[in-house]
């Protein structure tokens, strides 16, 4: 679950964002605490805190004094917009690099995507 190559705190933040994007962590719901994240991912609490702070700075989480962290209203839309913007860079570019290496053109790739998206015929 934890991979090398990307700072750990960024990965922690992204996993919290994943739960917001897929709806398992609703807006205005309480987010996991730094210590819960640290224990769950078996990482240093300072690293978990850095991930949480990144989400606070970004406006995804906000702090209620004495209670904990909560998901901000509008966080899901914000994350969806951001992820759609990054989709080309993160997923399409690597796809095209590999396609080129094995001699597939953009149209071939598009055909494969269409075929893959169709419901499997029994």
């Amino acid at each position: 679950m934890i991979e090398e190559g990307k700072p750990l705190f960024v990965q922690i933040a992204e996993q919290v964002e994943d739960s917001i994007v897929d709806g398992s962590l609703a807006e205005e719901a309480q987010a996991p605490s730094t210590n819960e994240l640290a224990a769950f991912h078996r990482i240093n609490p300072a690293t978990a805190a850095k991930g949480v702070n990144m989400l606070v700075d970004k406006g995804v989480l906000y702090k209620r004094r004495g209670i904990g962290m909560f998901v901000a209203a509008g966080a899901r839309d914000m994350l969806l917009t951001e992820r759609r913007r990054e989709f080309a860079l993160r997923y399409v570019q690597p796809l095209l690099v590999e396609a080129r290496r094995i001699g597939l053109g953009p149209d071939d790739v598009a055909d494969l995507i269409r075929a893959g998206a169709e419901p499997a015929t029994p």
Partner: protein, 306 residues
Amino acid sequence: MDSVIEVRHLTKRYKDVLALDDVTFDIQRDAIYGFLGRNGAGKTTAMSILTAQNLPTSGQVRVFGEDPYENAVVLSRMCFVRESQKYPDDATPRHALASARLFFPRWDQDLADDLVEEFQLPLKRTIKKLSRGQLSAVGVIIGLASRAEITFFDEPYLGLDAVARQTFYDRLLTDYAEHPRTVLLSSHLIDEVANLIERVLVIDGGRIIMDESTEDARAQATNVVGDAATVETALRGREVIHRESLGRVSSVTFLGRLDDAERAAFAAVGLDLAPVSLQQLIVRLTQQRTPGRDTLAPASQEGTLR
């Protein structure tokens, strides 16, 4: 920065061997450090001097701003779990835990009882009849339950199986989260502790060769794989720490960060980039010298040895 330990120009010489060579570093309050290095690099010597169980040849050590030597107040705030702790012949774990309870002002008996159960430590068997893993468990339990402001774990895992080690890591993290304190964890199982530690201190041949946040350390090196000639061209001017080749393909580890544009440039010429784990990085950085350390010429100061 809030330091609990300050080490300045610390040197320790044993006969003709330089165990610590003019070492200077600080340890910040309430952080978990990985104190890493090969066998004989000087880790245990450094920890022994910091806990006043050994004397420096020269240089200065300050713990909580004071000299730890024969300083009972400072010593009761530190716990040193030695890899090869010796106990009296007829001592049992019960005796060891009872004396630890007397010595450490922040001792938590409930935590100790809990850990005894979790590690299934037989309290009444004499320590010399314990297995290596059970002996390690005694040290781990004392290290955790003492809640000392500074705790040194010197390879605390010997003989502990994977499950018991995970128990140790989990307990360390949860107890640290509730009771923040300074921990120096010396370990060869770098991959196992990489996510637990906030900072990395690497000692090699008696010298500190790395002192930084784990996050920065991890981003320090990259591995590149591809056509040998292309790799060489792309890496011109960079510091290479390891090289392997298989036919025309080479795999090279180099220091330095890459920005997005540089990554794209590597990808454009068909080179694959891969991250380097903390363990790989430290292996690469410390394998450049042979084990053992610089030996001095016949020492003229031999008479000054402790």
